[in-house]
Structures are given as C-alpha cells and as structure tokens.
C-alpha cells in the first residue's frame, strides 16, 4: 500500500504491506534504528516516537495509519542537517547520567519531551507517574527522573529566553 508521511523533516513515500508496524517502517525501511523494540507488546516504551507531536508506541501503530502525519524519532532531535548538537533533553540525560545500557533511552527521551510540552514546573511525582509506560531495567529510574526534571526546566528556560528575545 502506498504511504506518504514526513519523518524527521523528510517527506517519505513508501510502498508497504498493510501489516507493517510503524516501528518496522522506521527501522527496516528507513534505517532509523534508534527507535528500539523492547517488548513488542506495548508495555516497555523503548519504541516511543512522536506522531503529530504526541508520544505513541510505534510497535502498536500500523505504518499505514501514519499516512499524512509528521513522525519524529530520536534521530530527528539533533540540529538541522543531522549535526551533533544535542536536544536539551538529551543534554539533561547526559549531564545527569540518566542511562546505563541505553536501550530504553530513545523512548525515555521521546516520552520526556512530550511530558515537557505539557508541564512547565513538574514535580518528581508527576515525572514518575508519566514514566509508567517506559521501562528501564538498569537504573532504578532515579537519574532518569532527575534528567527529565532538568531537561524540562532547560526546555522552558530556552523557550522563555527566545520569547523574550522575540519581544
């Protein structure tokens, strides 16, 4: 089935089987292997990407259902042109050591950015509640929570600075 969508700013046209999952399209057709498949049963959250700005588990969405959408995966967070500039949430994970093996990290970061878009001054409890759909088997979550609090603060600081500049 013919499919058109935008992935990380690139317009994509693909002919895919109807049963192909969005995560399979990203990983197997587009080579975007940063999105991971941890469980394939929509429990673990390693496959979280943004579809039209909201976090979804790409292992539980058909590729054909993404027709006409804008998909952003972990690879789409770096600066324009695929540079090495990290997204503020990635910087926060780096600075707070918010990962050990790193397998869950792409999903954690995509979930965290959706969270930051909905919370300006979150509490630790709100972060932990939000992370119910993202599993980490190494860290015990402590540094992930710290990373998300720091990343959320950084994103909002950046937003308020740029709106002040615009004003």
């Amino acid at each position: 089935m013919e499919l058109k969508l935008n992935v990380n700013g690139r317009n994509i046209k693909a002919d895919v089987p109807t049963e192909m999952l969005l995560v399979e399209l990203l990983r197997e057709r587009l080579g975007l292997t940063g999105t991971h498949i941890g469980c394939d049963t929509s429990q673990c959250g390693a496959c979280v990407v943004h579809v039209d700005g909201v976090s979804v588990k790409s292992c539980t969405m058909l590729a054909v259902a993404a027709e006409g959408t804008r998909v952003v995966s972990i690879e789409g967070l770096s600066g324009p042109g695929g540079g090495n500039a990290l997204h503020p949430m990635q910087v926060a994970f780096h600075e707070n050591h918010g990962l050990q093996c790193g397998f869950c990290t792409p999903g954690m970061i995509m979930s965290a950015i959706d969270f930051a878009g909905r919370h300006t001054a979150p509490t630790e409890a709100e972060v932990r509640h939000w992370l119910e759909g993202n599993m980490c088997r190494c860290t015990g979550y402590q540094n992930i929570v710290a990373s998300i609090l720091a990343g959320t603060a950084a994103i909002h600081a950046e937003t308020s600075t740029s709106s002040m500049e615009a004003a």
């Binding site: 049963e19 999952l21 979280v48 976090s55 539980t60 969405m61 119910e132 759909g133 993202n134």
Partner: protein, 267 residues
C-alpha cells in the same frame, strides 16, 4: 501479523458498509486489537480504520447529558475542561488508563466494543447509566455487556458516541495491576437525585452493579453505610494477581474509597 486489506473511510455510512464485508474488523486506537493480531488471536481479512471519521469525535454537554464521540482518545477526556466541569470523575478515570502513550491512542468506543473484564470505562458506563449510541440504535448500559469480551453489538455495528447523564457527585476508585494498570477491581459510584449507582469492573467476566450497596448509599451517602455488606466470592475472577476472595474484599474497599472521594466534593 497476517496481511489484510486496509480502509480508512471518512463517514460512518461508508464504515458500516465496509464492516459488512467478510472478516472485516473496525480498528480504533488499536491498543488491544494490534497486540491480539500479533498473537494471531484475531486474523481480520480487512481492517476499517475509524480514525478518519470526524463524526466520531467531539465532547459536548447539552443540559444534563455529556456526550463523548466514540473515537475520542483517553488523553482528550482526561484533559477536557468540559468533562472536568460536568463529570470530573470521568476525566480522572481516563487519566488513569494505561500509560501516556496508550492514552494518546486508545479510545472510549474501542474500550467499550472490546469489553475487557478489567477495563475502566465499563464501570463508568454502568455506574452513570450511560447510553451507547450506535449507527443503528441506542443501547442502555445494563444491556451492553453480556460476558467476557462480549457485548450486544451486532457484527459490523459501530459505536458512534456515549451519552453520560451528569450526576450530583461521582468518583472512581481502582486497585490496579502495577504492571498493566488495568483494574484488578475498580468501583464507580455515582449519586443522582433518584439514588446512588455502584458499578464494579475487574471482578467478574463483565461489569456489574451492587444493589445492596446502592440501597444503603441511597439512604445514607457515607462510606460507613457500606459496613456489613459483603460481596460473595462465588463467580468472581481469580488469577495470579488476586484470588476471588481478595477481589470480593477489594470491592468493599474500593467502594468505600469512591464514596469518600465523591462525598468530599472531589468527584
């Protein structure tokens, strides 16, 4: 997953025609259907994606009725100021389903059509006495659920919207599975001028009401009014999470919590 034909109609009429074809299944958020298809427990020949039908969206209040379109996703119910003003217990229930990414996809119509014994929304539908509007009729809450994953919906019948009467107060309390966030037992309590309704999910193959609790709470809306009302464990669900006797106990505990929450004005 096995292959299938994929349709994405834009009208209810077109969807109903497509759903009549051999082996066709509707797909709403896909949060249950896709995992079930991966296990080949469902092998539809055609999938009718309902997400392109604008008529299945929308949340509105008209007088004493809150109407929610079948394709409204859990996140939209949880975040809706209209729902928060009319039936805050319903917004809180939606905010407690699954996890954020699941709430971004899952829909109220999909939950009701699937009729999972541990789903949250059936408790609200039965507890509030909601009406399920389909493409061809209106179904009373009492008539909707007929057993484990079973409803009165005819093959190809499509849920269009759910109409909830606005109560004086309501609350939902659930004891959830820490892994799946499904209700091991969930109790929805709603107080209307005509009396109190108590609906339980997670404890039997499908949602049920508790007349003894309703009578006691209609006389006196206080958690203490539930003292002495025991739910017999016979026929209750038992699994690795909770045996029937524990579920029976939880019905009383969750009912008392829901009454306390509704009574404090935190409905």
């Amino acid at each position: 997953m096995q292959g299938f034909t994929y349709h994405r109609p834009t009208s209810v009429a077109d969807a109903v025609v497509l759903l009549q074809s051999e082996g066709a299944s509707g797909i709403a958020g896909g949060m249950t259907l896709l995992p079930v298809m991966k296990h080949r427990l469902a092998t539809p020949l055609a999938l009718v994606d309902l997400s392109g039908i604008a008529a299945l969206g929308g949340i509105e209040v008209d007088g004493e009725t809150l109407t929610i379109g079948a394709m409204v996703r859990h996140v939209a119910v949880a975040d809706s100021p209209v729902v928060a003003a009319a039936i805050p217990a319903l917004a809180a229930l939606a905010a407690g389903i699954g996890d954020p990414a699941v709430r971004n996809r899952g829909t109220i119509g999909g939950v009701l059509a699937n009729a999972d014994p541990s789903a949250d929304y059936p408790a609200a539908v039965a507890g509030l006495g909601a009406t399920i509007v389909t493409d061809r009729r209106e179904i009373a809450a009492e008539a909707m659920f007929t057993g484990l994953f079973a409803t009165v919906l005819a093959p190809g019948e499509l849920i269009v919207a759910v109409k909830f009467p606005v109560p004086l107060a309501a609350a939902y309390a659930k004891f959830r599975s820490p892994a799946s966030r499904y209700a091991i037992v969930g109790v929805f309590v709603a107080r209307f001028a005509a009396g109190v309704r108590v609906a339980v999910t997670g404890a039997r193959p499908s949602v049920f009401r508790v007349p003894e609790m309703e009578a006691a709470l209609s006389a006196r809306f206080d958690p203490a009014a539930l003292a002495g009302i025991a739910i017999p464990p016979d026929g209750l669900n038992g699994d690795i999470h909770a045996e029937p006797a524990f579920r029976a106990h939880l019905v009383g505990v969750m009912a008392a919590r829901a009454v306390a929450a509704a009574g404090s004005g935190a409905a």
